[in-house]
Every structure is written in C-alpha cells, then in structure tokens.
Symmetry: C2
C-alpha cells in the first residue's frame, strides 16, 4: 500500500496555475514537491482572493502538501543550495518564459549534461519554439486565442470564458502526462527528457469535435449554448421549475427516452439516427420540452435515471461539494493548518488507484520559505 | 530518438470519448493501441456527424493510429482471442458500467490474479464506488452535475455548456495520468494496479478557483461571462471592431498596461493590488474600454504585446488551425487514408519531448475489425 510516485522528488520552479496544478497532481500521487519561490513575494497566487485568516484560498487549493524554499537564483549562496536540490531531484518543473532558465545557467542543455537522468518539464504560454515563443500569456489568452471561447456560449452570442481556468489546467495536465511518460521511459533507458508544453497547444488539443467539424466541412463551429454539437438529444431542457440535462447518446437510449416520456417519435425517420437527430435538434428539443415542462426537474431526473437514461441536475459548486457521490468518492478533502485543523476545502485526487491510500486531508500549503530549515537538514542528512 | 511508450501494448475496450481520448494520447506517445469493438456496429462515434467520404470526422479525430478488432466477449472463440491479446498487453482500458467486466469474467480481481503485471484502467460516469456507481453518464451530465456549467456564462444568465467535451476529456486525461503513474510504479515493483476514474470526479477536480471560493466564503460562484473571477484585468474588452482579451495578471503587468494605454490610474488605491482590482473590476473595465474603443483589436494586440502585456484575439477554430504559432508547433496533423493521402485534419500531440519524433501525420482511424488479420498474425508470430 503505497502511492505510485513515492520516493520521487520534484523541484518545482513554476508559479500561478499551470505548473502548480501539475505538481499538485504529482504530490497527490506520492512525489515530494519542493516549491522554489522568489524571495519577498513568492508565487503571485499568494495574493489572489478570496482570503481566509489572511491566506489565499486559491493558493491553498493548488499548493497543499508542497514544501517551500525561497531562493534567489542570481545569488551565489542560493545557487549552491539550488544545485544541491538538483542533485536530489528526479524532475525539475519551470514555467518561465523561454530563455530565462538559460540566462540563469540552468537551461535544459546544461542540466542534461550535468545529470542525464534529470527530467525537465517546462510549461509556457506558447511553448519553446515558434514565432511567439517568447510572448507572455495567461489563461485568458490561451482560452481566447485557442478557440474554446468561440464555441462556448449561445449561437451568435458573445464568446464566453470557460468558468474553470482550462487554459492553464489543460497545460498542467499535459505537463503531468509528459513528466510521467518520461519517467516510464527513464525506467528503461536511464535517461531523462525535456518536456515542452504550450498553453495554446494544450487548449487547442481539447477541441476534438470542433477540429473535426472544421476539418470535414470547412466551416468553423460556433457556440451551441447548452447543447452538444454532435450528439442529440444531449443538452439542457426546461422542466416546470428550471433547467436540467438529458444525454441520450445512442439509438437505444433514445428509444428508452421516447418510452419514458411517452413520446411516439421513436420510429420517426427525422429522429431515426444520431445524425438525423442532430439535424433536427431544435424540433426535437421542443417535442421533449412539451413533455418535460409538465413536471419538476427532480421528477424527470428520477424517472429517466430509473429507466437507465443519463440525466442530471445542473449543480452550483456548493451543491457539487455536498453531492453524495462526490462525498463518497472522497473528492472534497480538508486542507489543514499547521495545528492540524481544517483550514480550507479543496478538490481531492480523481486518480483512484488500487493499493494506494486515498487521503482525506492534505498538509497545509506552505508559507513562503516556510520549509527552508527542514529542506536544508534533509540535504545535509541521509 | 524513440517515443517514450514505444513497445507498450494497450488493449482498449473503451468507446465514445473519455477512454478513446486517453488511448489516443498513449498512442501519440508511442504505445501500440488495439481497439476491441463489438461486432456489427463498433464504437458509437462511428455514427457521429460530420462525415466525409462516409467516415465520421469525429471518430477519425480521436482514433487515428489505432488498430481495430471486433470481438464478442460472450463467444468462446473470441474470448480465446481476447485472452491471447491480454497475454501480450501491458494495459487494459475499459469504460463499461461497473460490473460489466466482472460479468464477462474479466474483472480486475480475475485479471490481476491471472497476470499481476497488467495495469487496468477504468473510466466511468461516476466511478466504481459510491451510491451512483452504476448510473450511466455522458459528457453533458458530468458538465451539469459537476459544476462547470454553473460558472460558465453571463452572471445571472443560463448556464452554458463548455464548447469542448470537457466532461469526457478531463476524465480521459486523468485516466492517462493514472495509467502512466501505474507504469512508473510497475517499473519498480513489477505489479500492476487498477485505476478507477469517474467523469464526475474529474470534472469537479478542474474547478480550482470555484472550490476555493466556496470553501473560503461559503457562497458558490456564478458565471462571470468573459472575465476571470480572481484576476483583474483578465477578461474580454471591446475595441472599435470587436472583442479581444487582455490578461494583466500581476502588479507589474498592470503598471505596464496603464503606461501603454496612457491611463493615469496606476497609483489609484482602488487598483493598487490584484485583490483591489478584482473588487473594482467593473469600473476598471469601463476605464480601459474608454481607451480601447478608440482603435482596432489588431492595434491594441500589437501595442500591448510589444509592451510585454499578455493580450490576444478571440479566434474561431479555423483561425486557430491557421495560427502561425499552432502551425509552427505542428499542432494540426494530417490523418491519412489507406492510400497515404490526407483525409482529415486533427489536433497534434501537445506533449513535445526531446528526442521524440513529432510526427506530422497519423495513420488512419481503423475500419471496424479492419486489423483482425494483422493482429492474429502478430499473436501467432514473434
């Protein structure tokens, strides 16, 4: 019973969200993560609202369970400490703009020559190659330029930002995958690799349907409001007391839905296949709502679920956090303060794994430079 | 120069999007993926529009480079073939509802006893535990119940679906991470693990900011239209010819922005910190738009970018596919037909890695059962 990455050390120079999201996952999987922050202010997200007892809930949600040491990588003494940390690390993560690590003398070529086993994971706005490599970016730029905003929102309406910071998080998740794949590879070869993740690339990589549409019919898709663009019915519907969702994604489910709603259209050729239903989605929505408007969301969700048809509520975030399934899966964990009391709630680890403890609490997010003493003792010790 | 997962074999029983998205990434990283489909119809997404030359662009975008064999796992001859495939596999992936694999005699306990090295990756709507484990789900249910729709869209407006199928894709990405972490672990221990991914868990795990807010102030956040909820300015702004984005995520960038826009507010205490700017975001937006409405998007993006401030266009998907940075990063690849000609375009692999070829084309998505002969020869052969 041990976590799959137990014993691995990640030296984490990243800040804000994309990189820290990756190192959070690696920590949840058992790696020891040492966050190297700039002296004085540290990670910008320490200043992101909301705050509780003077601490950023945002910072805590992403940086729990990591250790922090503040190092000035232009100062000799701190560089020596940094290099001792490098000697003990399996992975280094950084989210500087391309060229910064080289100027510090810690670019990939130098570090790879110094220790061929080291894995180097970089995440940046646009990647380390291409005409815009050195431009700065944030989540919003990746979402806007990467296309997801153009397909989120009402048809013909203003493009909407995805409420979660998917521009950062997608890049963080690909960074995690790249680091893990390099660890798999290193177990065979003994040699580390450099991983170069771009927020723009990562955002684009999620547009499965939209790329397929643009590729096949040459016309870019737009927002579809509350509807899936290539499955029908798979969208929001009005009940007597508000919106809920039905997702009848194949012919069998559609037939079951027609039975459950007493809608005599299962044999109608306009709805005979998913492709036909997509072509007549607006009509189909009205036929379904003519039934669903007669009773409550709870009524329809219970009835359709009993019939084996995917359906569900549209929940606010506090409702999700109390959802019995989310609670049963240990998806809301306590982030402790240094007295062992619950200080914040955070999302748990969605990677459930046999023989790996699924911890219900997380150690605090570190104070800036808060683990210097223990880190130096660890370097001196065993 | 080899891909990091070269030599690994993934036996893929998943369908639709979450599982196939994971096996696509594993294939892009070098694994051999054998897609096991049900005889007759195969993966439902073979019937998803749009079509080109009778083939689903959607299916092609996710299943390129995989091999297909159709097997009836209730028929003895096909079970024997399946078990020979198991003997050659490092990883099995499945997306059935919990209990289906057990009824087929291929549950985790059985397969783990049969071959302790095998890694078993499951993805389902709600996971293999908890009160709703056996309920069916689709992307829309995960997005709605998982909370992301409640924070996407205009404040007070209807909840919006994220235009990409993030309910599926997040689960697919966590499945990939779980499988890779288990491979890292197996390299040390020789023992495989079961990974149990829930679409609902995975969707919830992306809500970093929203969970922090709900945790710290006890009130669930709602949609914020085109704005980041905890960074300001980090949103859409009107220029004379439409919307673009500015993301000035820290004090230094905000000061640069004030200079670039000739806005004399850098010393105004209402905008002195990110927290203060978030509290006065609506006022700040108006002050900025009073300047940006005077010139075009292109003007402002060029000017702000030259000043080192993250800014960018809101691009449609076809614009993204022609974006010089996306093209330079090889993020649009050709999916070939069996004559080696380009049949579709698809998103490339965002995990760029040293000493790994970043291929510009992908082998075709397979016909149903289209690789039976070569798969059987491979089983018979070396």
């Amino acid at each position: 019973m041990s976590l799959p990455l137990a014993g691995l050390v990640v030296l984490d120079l990243t800040h804000v969200l994309a990189g820290p999201f990756a190192s959070m996952t690696l920590a949840d999987l058992g790696a020891r993560v040492i966050k190297v922050e700039r002296p004085g202010t540290g990670d910008d997200t320490r200043g992101f609202p909301p705050f509780k007892h003077g601490r950023s809930a945002y910072f805590a949600a992403i940086n729990h369970g990591k250790a922090s040491i503040a190092l000035d990588l232009k100062a000799d003494a701190d560089r020596a400490t940094f290099e001792r940390l490098l000697d003990r690390s399996d992975v280094i993560l950084e989210s500087y703009r391309p060229g910064v690590m080289e100027r510090l003398g810690y670019g990939w070529e130098v570090l790879h020559a110094r220790d061929p086993k080291l894995i180097y994971g970089a995440v940046s706005g646009f990647g380390h190659t291409g005409p815009d490599a050195r431009r700065p970016s944030y989540d919003m730029v990746a979402q806007a330029r990467g296309g997801v905003m153009s397909i989120t929102g009402e048809p013909g309406g203003e493009p909407m930002r995805v409420g979660a910071s998917i521009g950062d998080i997608a890049a963080g998740m690909y960074l995690t995958q790249g680091v893990l794949a390099a660890l798999v590879d290193r177990a065979r070869t003994g040699i580390g690799r450099k991983i170069d993740i771009s927020m723009l690339d990562s955002q684009f990589a999620l547009l499965e349907h939209a790329v397929a549409v643009a590729s096949a019919i040459g016309k870019p898709p737009s927002g579809t409001g509350g509807r899936h663009p290539s499955i029908a019915p798979h969208e929001t519907f009005n009940a007597s007391d508000g919106l809920f969702v039905i997702a009848a994604g194949n012919d069998t489910l559609f037939e079951k839905l027609c039975v459950a709603l007493s809608l005599p259209i299962a044999d109608d050729e306009r709805f005979a296949t998913n492709a036909a239903r997509c072509g007549n989605a607006r009509l189909l929505k009205r036929l379904i709502e003519a039934v669903t408007l007669d009773a409550t969301r709870a009524h329809w969700i219970a009835k359709l679920t009993a019939a084996g048809i995917p359906a569900g509520p549209i929940q606010s975030v506090d409702e999700v956090m109390k959802d019995p399934q989310i609670v049963a899966r240990n998806m809301v964990v306590d982030v402790l303060d240094r007295n062992g009391r619950q200080a914040f709630k955070a999302a748990g680890n969605p990677i459930k794994m046999s023989d790996a403890e699924d911890r219900t609490a997380r150690a605090p997010a570190p104070d800036l430079d808060g683990n210097r003493g223990e880190i130096l003792r660890w370097l001196d010790g065993s």
